[in-house]
């Protein structure tokens, strides 16, 4: 009894110090792990910075209005000419057709999952949408090729086949993002609409979709940004062309990613000594400039996508 009341002052302070702070070993571990975790972040930033830096520095060399406005038709060897107009056209056409296929299917599937989905079909759909996001892009390309080879014979190369391949990759992304957006719409809005006697389908179109249109746009833009850089499926379905082709239903089409790949593949050009119109690494310069263009397009899509949400999203609260 008396021992507890007459504890020396030094003792309590020592106990308090022991309780208040971790011992040296634990502190050291804590500091070390903090350092490692910061290091992990820095390590991940190195490739990102290096990649963006290289693409900008090497790409700007050949990036010019001329480069953007001519095709590769009649360009050979180390000619100091040629551009990516045909590839930009092909990329836009193929991606737009892919979006035209995937957005309705993806959006309606999301509507089904959020507004109607009950029971096994909804569960199976949710699961397989997730699984579908994992389809390797080259497999999507093989599928589209196999599908179109039935109708157009072996060796088919069509822009629309590439669009179908991209749709396979794009639909699950659209479904995922749209589903998330539709679930954000408060139930009170739906109930208010039903209370006014509005039928369900009109409620979905006029209330649910109208409310979430900004988020849906963002989702679609981001999914386009994701597939616009796909190379492998386009390589085996649309092939590559040197000339401008606006028609996805006829003939080969060039796209930016495949353009980058083919230019990279061709590598350096052997130039005759003293040749005036010959640049040795012209192909690589074109590849870097095209890579810069592609990154700019992707970044623009990402930026616009995020801005749409920021400025046009309804204030729900």
């Amino acid at each position: 009894m008396s021992a507890t009341t007459s504890t020396p002052v030094g003792d309590t302070e020592r106990v308090r110090a022991m309780l208040g702070s971790a011992d040296a070993g634990r502190k050291r571990t804590d500091r070390m792990m903090t350092g490692l975790i910061y290091a992990a972040f820095v390590v991940a930033m190195i490739p990102l910075v290096s990649l963006l830096w290289t693409v900008v520095i090497r790409g700007i060399e050949r990036f010019s209005p001329y480069f953007l406005s001519v095709s590769m038709r009649g360009v050979f060897g180390g000619m100091d000419a040629g551009g990516i107009y045909h590839a930009i056209v092909g990329t836009l056409v193929i991606t737009l057709v892919a979006a035209a296929i995937s957005v309705p299917i993806g959006l309606l599937t999301a509507v089904y999952l959020v507004e109607y989905g009950r029971g096994p079909l909804a569960r199976v759909t949710t699961f397989f949408v997730d699984v579908m996001t994992g389809i390797p892009s080259i497999v999507a390309g093989l599928f589209a090729f196999a599908l179109f080879a039935i109708f157009f014979g072996p060796g088919v190369r069509l822009g629309v086949a590439a669009s179908v391949a991209l749709s396979v990759l794009m639909i699950p992304v659209v479904v995922r993002s749209s589903e998330e957006m539709l679930r954000l719409v408060p139930n009170e809005l739906r109930e208010a609409s039903y209370a006014l006697g509005v039928p369900k389908w009109l409620t979905i179109i006029k209330v649910v979709l109208r409310t979430s249109v900004a988020g849906l746009t963002t989702g679609v833009l981001l999914s386009i940004a994701r597939v616009i850089g796909e190379t492998a499926p386009i390589l085996i379905t649309a092939g590559y062309a040197d000339s401008i082709n606006f028609n996805p239903f006829e003939g080969r089409m060039a796209t930016l990613p495949v353009y980058i790949f083919t230019q990279y593949r061709q590598g350096t050009v052997p130039c005759a000594p003293g040749a005036l119109d010959c640049v040795e690494d012209i192909n690589l310069m074109r590849a870097w400039a095209a890579a810069l263009t592609l990154i700019l397009i992707v970044m623009l899509l990402n930026l616009v996508g995020r801005l749409v949400t920021r400025f046009f999203a309804p204030k729900l609260r």
């Binding site: 804590d30 599937t109 699961f127 699984v131 616009i228 796909e230 980058i260 790949f261």
Partner: protein, 326 residues
């Protein structure tokens, strides 16, 4: 009898909630059809791959040699698919080994270490990595990274060679599986980070506060509360990353100097090849049975990635039910 019986029948039908008529029913059917179509597309992918790959599976060794353009000395499909599956798994496994610790570190950095104001911005920056097209990664990996890491690999091989009984070769060009795997690791970093981050942020605040109340340091909070809670999430995130790495084409195609060996010489060129890169490499020049051969190898890739993804999703789904977070 009939006149008195019919009015109650109609009112009963209204009361039972069957108010869906006309456009409502059409709309329900359209949206259900979209969901069914989506499943049909997935089924069609599988069916077409099997149907078009079948001729390669049933063809004789001689046909495969001549029309199927199988590499010299190979007489059945397994001799091609085997090394390809090996190369694919090896590349993806190394990528996963490199990426997972870093990704978990970044996820912890964002969820528990970075200043609150910075965290969202850092998340965007990591997502930027996901936005960069794979062909640009390939270009960068082949032209910028490969020459730089080649020296590192040569040095590593030199160190490893000093261990008796170990023979490691390294190429001076850097066009080896190790380089390709590093690029794959960078490419799968964002998805692993994103999923892990979500899981770490869901850690019950009470668990963390309880750990802090017991005098735990920040790392001890992470070790005792956050990591055990997020373990299954990290595993499934890693498997999603694995699925990505297995199917990635361009980075491997543009960096790796391919070979068809069962070889662990990851620093040497001309040793391994992955399925996706093999298909993309051969496809433009193939026709007839050779295409069927490629589609059959694609089928192998499809089966592997589907299995990995389904397993990952299954773990995620199971976790949602039993995590105790709700």
């Amino acid at each position: 009898m009939t006149t008195t019986a019919s009015p109650p029948a109609t009112t009963r039908r209204r009361r039972s909630g069957d108010t869906e008529r006309g456009m409502s029913r059409v709309f329900r059917w359209i949206s259900t059809a979209a969901a069914v179509l989506l499943l049909a597309v997935l089924a069609a992918v599988a069916v077409f791959l099997v149907q078009r790959g079948l001729p390669a599976l049933t063809a004789s060794g001689e046909e495969l040699q001549t029309a199927g353009r199988l590499p010299r000395g190979m007489t059945h499909l397994g001799q091609l698919v085997g090394p390809l599956v090996f190369g694919t798994l090896l590349a993806a496994a190394i990528a996963l080994l490199l990426a997972t610790p870093v990704a978990v570190g970044i996820a912890l950095f964002i969820s528990h270490y970075a200043p609150r104001r910075l965290a969202a911005g850092i998340g965007y920056v990591v997502d930027l990595l996901a936005a960069i097209p794979s062909v640009v990664f390939g270009l960068w990996g082949g032209r910028t990274l490969a020459p730089v890491v080649a020296d590192v690999w040569v040095w590593v091989a030199g160190v490893l060679n000093s261990i008796p009984g170990l023979e490691v070769r390294a190429t001076a060009t850097g066009r080896s599986l190790a380089t390709a795997s590093v690029v794959l690791a960078v490419m799968i970093l964002p998805i692993i980070t994103a999923v892990s981050r979500e899981v770490f942020l869901q850690t019950p605040k009470l668990h963390e506060e309880a750990a802090l109340a017991l005098g735990a340091t920040r790392w001890e909070v992470v070790r005792t509360a956050v990591l055990p809670f997020g373990r299954s999430g990290v595993i499934s995130a890693a498997m999603l990353g694995l699925g990505r790495a297995l199917g990635e084409t361009m980075a491997v195609l543009m960096i790796l100097s391919p070979g068809l060996l069962y070889s662990f010489q990851i620093f040497d060129s001309g040793q391994q090849q992955t399925i996706a890169a093999y298909i993309a490499n051969q496809f433009p020049e193939s026709s007839g049975l050779a295409v069927n051969v490629l589609i059959a190898t694609g089928l192998a890739l499809f089966v592997i990635t589907m299995a990995v993804n389904m397993l990952a999703r299954w773990i995620v789904a199971r976790r949602k039910e039993f995590s105790g977070a709700n």
